[in-house]
Symmetry: C2
Subunit: 164 residues, 2 copies
């Protein structure tokens, strides 16, 4: 499966979450061997489940179920938005070697740099659809977007890092 | 609430998981203001739910529900075992300023060092009960313990780091 097709699945998940009234971030875990089996797909469910741990990437890992280490190490994580620290850590825990990110304009934490530092290949597509969906959501429901992470602050890890 | 009492709750959760046939890692999120309200408590549920994302700390955050940023920033995370990368990331995401770890002899990833690097206070208790419970479980069900993370490898981040 090529990156555009993988990201399209992640975007479908983000749209689904938006339509459910949730935070529109979606992801998909796709095998990098053979025909590119979709191992899992999912979206943020903070609003839908009242869950602070069901993010796009983690919901995807949950939906993929218990996998062997070898499945993770031969897969790519597609996500519509630059990963937060938790999802960054989940990618590292399972040694997923490659991450394709829809956009990092509306949110960017320390994750991208840390993934690269730990040897993960990170591709940022700068996809307009992903960005527009997030901008629309943040404009409509800023109180949900800012609820759990709080006020603007500047991370020290990278001068170019945009944070919320 | 003092650290011994907080860790005791995390250990109760680990024991509960062991009795359920699961991985015996437990955690508790406790407010550091007032009398020390238990905001959440939980345990690993990889076996029980077939979930790769319900670890001790993340299950605790899930059980705590949707909290405001100010609740997280005035709390301590107690965990029976040194946090994996995902749980490290969850602690950073929610800006939990202090982590008390039961033991780091049976497992230690890059998490502790990264937490300190990002300004989190990390206390390692070296609790014998926590260590014995993990050693017992790993001895009894090594295939479950090694299933998802795979073979032994050496992390570059710290010469003293023990990894699985």
């Amino acid at each position: 499966m090529d990156d555009a097709a993988g990201l399209a699945i992640a975007y479908e998940e983000a749209q689904k979450s938006y339509e459910e009234g949730g935070i529109p971030i979606g992801a998909a875990l796709i095998s990098s061997t053979g025909t590119g089996t979709v191992l899992g797909r999912g979206h943020n469910q903070r609003v839908q489940l009242g869950s602070p741990i069901h993010h796009g990437e983690t919901a995807t890992l949950l939906n993929a179920g218990r996998l062997l280490a070898s499945s993770y190490s031969n897969s790519t994580m597609y996500t519509t938005l630059s990963p937060c620290d938790m999802c960054t850590g989940a990618i590292l825990l399972y040694k997923i070697p490659r991450v394709v990110i829809g956009e990092n304009s509306t949110f960017r934490a320390a994750g991208e740099d840390y993934l690269r530092q730990r040897g993960v290949e990170v591709v940022v597509v700068d996809d307009q659809e992903c960005r527009m969906l997030m901008e629309r959501f943040i404009g409509e429901k800023p109180e949900v977007w800012w609820e759990d992470i709080g006020e603007l602050s500047i991370l020290n890890s990278s001068p170019s890092t945009k944070v919320k």
